[in-house]
Amino acid sequence: MRYKLVDPEPFRLGEFKQKIDETHGIHPDDRYLKPGRIPHIWCPGCGLGIVLSAFIKGMDSMEVAIDNCAVVSGIGCTGRVAGYLNMDTYHTTHGRAIPFATGLKLAKPEMEVVVFSGDGDLFAIGGNHLIHAARRNMDLTVICVNNFNYGMTGGQAGPTTHIAAKTVTTPYGNCEYPFNLTHLAYASGAVYVARWTSFHARYLIESVKKCFAKKGFKFIEVLTPCPTGYGRPNRLGSGLDQMKVYRDNSEIRNDINPMEAESGLNGPIIVGEFVDREKPTFFERYTEGVLAKASAG
């Protein structure tokens, strides 16, 4: 045998808790994070931490009470967010983050409910739930982190993979057209639609703040680098290289039709706040249109 086996040190709970106490609370954002969970599992160069950080900063500056806010997430790399935030969070089954959040919102209408999930969870397996929640105009904030593939399972092609992009399951290049997520959300009836990349962290914070102040179905798409699952087969380089591409290729165009907002593999990436409109939410319609009439008659 080349290596000598060493007996591992026995696990001591006291030492473990002491270590957590020493390493937690040394960053201002740590008060929103569960003790002992940082460092997170996301790869070096992944943009997911930026999105989580932007969400925390947006929530902090809007002074949303932790007791009055719930985060629901699905399965995938982004689904891990529910495990890191030190508040009411739910890690639901694959694709069912929005139905769970809908129920939560109807049971506690005064609560801010945020759905934090990935493109594979929200648009592949949970696509139907998303379009119907947008159609009903449920009062939810949906933050969709788009990394163009199924990152956690090893980089398979999904509904957002660019055409001709190589993944584990499309070694000769993807032949399917991808979704334009912002257009889909807009066409389904979302009242606020924005797209940013993880490079536009400050704009993302402003978008999160707007979402907390607004009623209705709000949708933010965030493009993030995925150096491990998507960058390697497509030779996009490290996370830093992909962030530089976002810096150089992205173009901010607010208030355009999301149909024109393209995001190519090597072409321009159109980002901005595309839609900001007012519409009565499902809860208002239901209380005024159904409950009032039912109690009167």
Binding site: T23, I26, H27, P28, D29, D30, L33, I38, P39, H40, W42, C43, P44, G45, C46, G47, L48, G49, I50, L52, S53, A54, K57, F199, A201, R202, I205, S238, G239, L240, M243, K244, R247
Partner: protein, 110 residues
């Protein structure tokens, strides 16, 4: 861009001086903060942290202006800054600005 004299409103300009806190053992070496710092005050440390990455350190003779971009763009919650003091705009800042605007790369857009 070159300035030929100190701007007339230089007396009114206050520059915050930030103090950087770097939690080295959380860093995973993605280099986002080093690349996107508008003042270019960070560089990769020659030392390793506990995970084997090179965490960022302040360059000598550089000054942080507490813009907070590194805190926003760090995916690992490993860096933040606070305001240490505030000082007046001086001629040294003009020279630094000229050096920076002629240097390579750019920080955050706009």
């Amino acid at each position: 861009m070159k300035f030929w004299r100190l701007p007339l409103d230089a007396e009114e300009q206050i520059i915050p001086v930030g103090r950087l806190f770097i939690i080295a053992d959380r860093c995973k070496g993605c280099n986002f903060c080093i690349e996107f710092c508008p003042n270019k005050v960070l560089e990769a440390s020659p030392d390793f942290n506990r995970k084997g990455y090179h965490p960022p350190v302040m360059k000598p003779n550089h000054e942080c202006n507490n813009c907070g971009l590194c805190e926003v763009i760090c995916p690992e919650f490993a860096i933040y800054s606070t305001v240490e003091e505030k000082r007046r705009f001086t001629e040294v800042d003009l020279v630094r600005y000229e050096e920076m605007s002629s240097g390579e790369g750019k920080g955050e857009q706009e």
